[in-house]
Symmetry: C2
Subunit: 271 residues, 2 copies
């Protein structure tokens, strides 16, 4: 019954609608140019390990902000209340998905620590602006993602392989994409591999482990980026007693312009 079809280009107005329970849809195309983030919330006991895991694996797990224990605000990203401000959450108990609520006020505890992680939206926009075709977007598909034989650096209970997303493109575009994406360290940065998929343990490029099959054109080479599914997979494997994440595609929308993600770290951001 909730209208999720209209577009709100102002991130503050969008979050107000989400907070009021009037918007619970996917956030792609919403909030104008504002940076969107993956969300992970863990009790403090497990959050310590997860923070170390992110610090040790910045390509798949670029940390935009970490909340104070028990505090649902992320002030460097905007006037955010994480109990209400994500359109749809996922609740995990012992590694099992048990609910997809639109509000977690009743689940919030005073030992909860929240993590906002960068996502690929920023660099895909930059690629498109540079005239590089983002084939899964043009085909109306989800990006293909693969488990690799590249290991993350383990931290306590969290470990596992790097998961990568793949975007096929001509070699000259791949070179330009590297040059562009290294400017977005908080959106997974430069690719981690390109060319032969078997070199990183991918047996069949046409059968991704997550997302949709790729649209590979003649002359394309596959280009692989570290992917935000990596921390999700590490959490799945670690099976913490309690974890809350955003539901796929239902991201945390911040006040930071997407081209200025480093403002998350410097604290200089538009009021």
């Amino acid at each position: 019954m909730i209208d999720t079809r209209s577009t709100l280009s102002d991130p503050k107005a969008l979050r107000a609608e989400i907070r009021a329970g009037r918007f619970d849809g996917p956030t792609a195309g919403q909030g104008g140019d504002a940076l969107q983030a993956n969300l992970v919330i863990l009790p403090q006991a497990d959050a310590q390990d997860f923070l170390r895991f992110c610090q040790a694996n910045p390509r798949p797990c670029p940390l935009l902000a970490v909340g104070e224990p028990g505090n649902p605000a992320l002030p460097t990203l905007g006037d955010i209340d994480l109990r209400h401000d994500v359109p749809r959450y996922r609740l995990w108990r012992d590694g099992t998905l048990v609910a997809e609520p639109t509000d977690i006020a009743d689940l919030w505890r005073d030992d909860m620590v929240s993590f906002a992680l960068g996502c690929s939206f920023s660099f895909e926009d930059a690629l498109t602006r540079a005239g590089i075709p983002v084939r899964h977007q043009l085909a109306g598909r989800n990006v293909p993602m693969y488990r690799t034989n590249l290991p993350t650096r383990a931290a306590g209970m969290f470990s596992g392989p790097v998961v990568v997303s793949m975007r096929p493109m001509p070699a000259a575009d791949a070179i330009e994409a590297v040059a562009i994406c290294q400017r977005f360290p908080l959106a997974h940065g430069a690719p981690v591999h390109l060319g032969d998929p078997s070199q990183i343990g991918i047996a069949d490029i046409d059968r991704p482990d997550y997302g949709d099959a790729p649209d590979i054109r003649p002359g394309d080479i596959p280009v692989f980026w570290a992917c935000g599914v990596t921390p999700q997979a590490a959490i799945d494997a670690a099976r913490p007693a309690l974890a809350i994440t955003h539901a796929p595609g239902h991201m945390l929308v911040t006040d930071i312009p997407s081209g200025q993600a480093e403002r998350c770290l410097t604290g200089v951001h538009p009021g």
Copy 2:
């Protein structure tokens, strides 16, 4: 009889030795960290076209400095007298190599225009410092170079294919190399291609058109940069009545630190 074996780490002292006729060897490893340059000297009538050719093809022909007609100085690069300061020159008449003098004072004319063009030394140093193997250097060979089917943009009498140099390396190093080399626009910048050589018209990677055969290791991919042989090839084909260049490997050594090539353009450089 001239001692070319000693190493002079100060570019001014090195040029003084060259100017005095006491050094006529290759400049690799000489002049410390100073930027080295390709040299082209043409009569003004042809120089006009060549200047436009370089401007239109900055990847293969990165212009560091252009001399005033008739003036053998390049003041933005150092206290240089091009009649004496290159250890060995090549003299071309109607496109044919006719001499390899160590001094061109007797050939200098008041309509001569000189061009200093960036070379690959700067970025190869940066790759090595980044831990990326530069295989032809490690093997003691010359870099392999290939004519491609990529066209330059023609300017007057100057045209022809882009010539590329190739450095094989693992894919992860290739990604890092792109990120590094795009910071060196005056040393050919980012690669122009990687992966399948046939996509740019190279039939047999093991048989380069110039330089030595490549040392390609298992897991390497070929990475291709626009090469300073491109303008040489364009001059060869155009067959100007008169041209003077450096002899291969016998470069113009400037006073600019190799990591600061942009100082050539801004004019801010150490006295």
